[in-house]
């Protein structure tokens, strides 16, 4: 087994990978095997399971199974994109702050503190009030929430590495700062990033799904797991599967991502879970 995949050998790692692969397959290929359209009613609202609709129908009489098969792409794509964006920004800020010996460091870190002094969900709701609900607002908002956290971690890793011999040697050779950051520092903070990324993804998925659940993210008639939970709440005693199915998918997704992240972190020797999934 390649070195990078060794984390899957631990118990939680293996289970996490298996569940994650299942959820990703459902989200990716689900729309191709969905028996019905996710948008058109096929029966009366909140029908129980039948041969026609294996998981019953939702509040508008649409096929729950088909909507579950369609509804994973949005949350996974939006959360993934926002984490990528958070790392792009957080890496730049963290490297600059960690390597700087001047005023840049305190200025960047104080700005990060300010962003962190608002509860994450409140920050998102403020943005939605100002800009309306859209995919862009969700991605940028969640990225902005995570960026200061990423920047802090990258900064402290950079500070640790920047006093080491090979970095000082590069500086003494007169190499450009961008070359030092990119060639000497970046490869050495990859383990820190690997240990952190699972946590960031879990958190991004939680936030995206929660905002969709509140009805302030994706809008009907989009098929989305978070939105489905909210839409079908009123029919719990008629067809609980309309809520249980999307709930199960989101639960499997977040638990699997967290388990894989935990296993990777432990393999890197960094205890990333220490603060829980919600730092």
């Amino acid at each position: 087994m390649p070195e990078a995949l060794r984390f899957a050998r631990s118990g939680t790692g293996a289970v996490g990978v298996a569940v994650l692969v299942f959820v990703l397959l459902v989200a990716l290929f689900g729309p191709f095997v969905a028996p019905h359209s996710p948008a058109r009613p096929i029966g009366i609202p909140y029908e129980g399971p039948s041969a026609e609709a294996l998981l019953g129908t939702d509040f508008l009489g649409r096929d729950v199974l088909s909507r579950v098969l369609w509804g994973g792409r949005s949350v996974i794509a939006l959360a993934g994109l926002s984490v990528l964006l958070a790392y792009a920004g957080g890496l730049a800020v963290g490297l600059a702050a960690g390597y700087s010996r001047g005023l840049l460091d305190p200025i960047l870190m104080r700005s990060a503190d300010v962003l962190l002094s608002l509860p994450a969900l409140l920050f998102l709701l403020v943005l939605v009030t100002g800009l309306g609900s859209s995919r862009t607002v969700l991605v940028v908002g969640v990225a902005l929430i995570q960026m200061p956290l990423v920047a802090r971690i990258i900064r402290s890793a950079t500070q640790t590495q920047s006093v080491r011999g090979f970095v000082e040697a590069a500086a003494a050779r007169g190499e450009r700062t961008s070359a030092i950051l990119g060639r000497e520092l970046l490869p050495n903070i990859v383990p820190t990033i690997a240990a952190d990324v699972g946590l960031r993804l879990t958190y991004a998925i939680i936030l995206v799904a929660s905002v969709n659940f509140l009805g302030l993210g994706l809008q009907p008639p989009d098929a989305d797991w978070g939105l489905m939970v909210s839409e079908n709440r009123s029919g719990l005693n008629l067809n609980p599967l309309a809520v249980l199915a999307p709930v199960t998918m989101i639960a499997l997704l977040t638990i699997a991502v967290n388990m894989v992240g935990d296993a990777v972190a432990r393999q890197q020797g960094v205890s990333a879970i220490e603060v829980g999934a919600r730092t």
């Binding site: 509860p119 709701l125 609980p240 249980l244 829980g276």
Partner: protein, 343 residues
């Protein structure tokens, strides 16, 4: 040994007097810092909610509004003045406890003070949060200690694996699962937590059970993991070894030596969890239709009631920052050596 211990006590006694003043100074500094942060946050909230040119007046009147009507409504709501002026005006009135009038009120044709709208929701939220915190702290201490003292045994694995799973679940997932179990299957508890106006949620405690359980699930997992980690570290330390070698009963070693030294990091985790609770409560109140400040906020965002969002946001942010400061000060009070540095 004896001499060293004596020397330590005297040095602590000598240092105690200047420490007290430095604690007061530290507290003052942290409170001033918190107020400064709140000021910056208020600007952030103001700018964030007003990023779009389309304003609250058009939200109130809808798309069919005539330009004259819009102008009139803007004047009534004070929207015709420059943004900077409105910001300082808002800030000034927030400082004296006047949160302004809601757009929803203007839409209904009256000037409705936001403070009157949110007073009783705020109280409902405080009740729910207080119950959760009162249960979370002792429970996470208990579970953390039980897991840490049984390291590697079944009870530790069960608690650790359970908390790893629950820690990654969004609140609305935990809450929905609880509703399915306790309402759909067992038919024991109500799926919604409505509180008729003018009554207190405490009059019907059964409506508080599921929201409390949901928030406990969301926060307990994380804090239990941290208490366990802190306990493990302190159980491995020299003074615990020493206490054991001196033949103290294990129960006393765990509680008096182990737990006591794991408390300071735990306080920070509790603070994080209380802060986290503030976000979680928004989702849980919406899920259970519980009339608290979080539901009020979501409703205000849904109808783009800018003024109400700004005011509720600043109230929530203030609580958030205050929890942080209080936790820092409690930690410093517990661990005196932190007072010297810029903790």
């Amino acid at each position: 040994m004896q001499g060293a211990a004596l020397a330590m006590t005297t040095s602590v006694a000598v240092a105690a007097a200047p420490h007290r003043t430095s604690f007061a100074r530290l507290a003052l500094r942290r409170i001033l810092g918190g107020l400064l942060t709140l000021l910056v946050v208020s600007a952030l909230v103001f700018v964030g909610t007003e990023l779009l040119p389309g304003d609250a007046a058009s939200a109130v009147l809808g798309r069919t509004a005539q330009p004259e009507q819009l102008a009139e409504m803007r004047e009534l709501m004070g929207l015709d003045r420059p943004a900077v002026e409105r910001y300082f005006d808002w800030l000034g009135s927030v400082l004296v406890g006047d949160l302004g009038n809601s757009a929803a009120g203007y839409a209904a044709g009256a000037e409705e003070a936001i403070w009157d709208d949110i007073r009783s929701p705020l109280w409902n939220t405080v009740i729910l949060a207080a119950i959760v915190v009162a249960l979370m702290i002792p429970l996470s201490l208990l579970l953390g200690v039980v897991a840490a003292t049984g390291v590697g045994r079944l009870r530790d694995h069960a608690i650790s694996l359970g908390s790893l799973a629950v820690v990654s679940l969004p609140e609305f997932i935990i809450g929905s699962l609880l509703i399915v179990v306790f309402f759909s299957w067992l038919d024991m508890l109500p799926p919604v937590s409505l509180v008729p106006p003018g009554t207190s949620p405490l009059e019907r405690p059964e409506i508080l059970v599921l929201p409390t359980l949901t928030l406990l699930g969301a926060t307990l997992a994380g804090s239990t993991r941290m208490v366990r980690a802190g306990m493990l570290e302190s159980l491995r330390s020299d003074y615990v070894q020493m206490a054991r070698l001196n033949g103290l009963p294990e129960r006393m070693v765990v509680l008096r030596y182990g737990l006591r030294n794991a408390l300071a990091p735990a306080v920070q985790v509790f603070a994080q969890n209380i802060q986290y609770l503030i976000g979680g409560i928004i989702v849980v109140e919406y899920l259970f239709n519980y009339p608290g400040i979080g539901k009020e906020l979501v409703d205000a965002v849904a109808i783009r009631d800018v003024r109400a969002v700004q005011s509720i946001a600043i109230v929530i942010a203030a609580v958030y920052i205050a929890v942080n400061i209080v936790a820092d000060l409690v930690v410093v009070a517990l661990v005196p050596r932190l007072r010297s540095g810029r903790a």
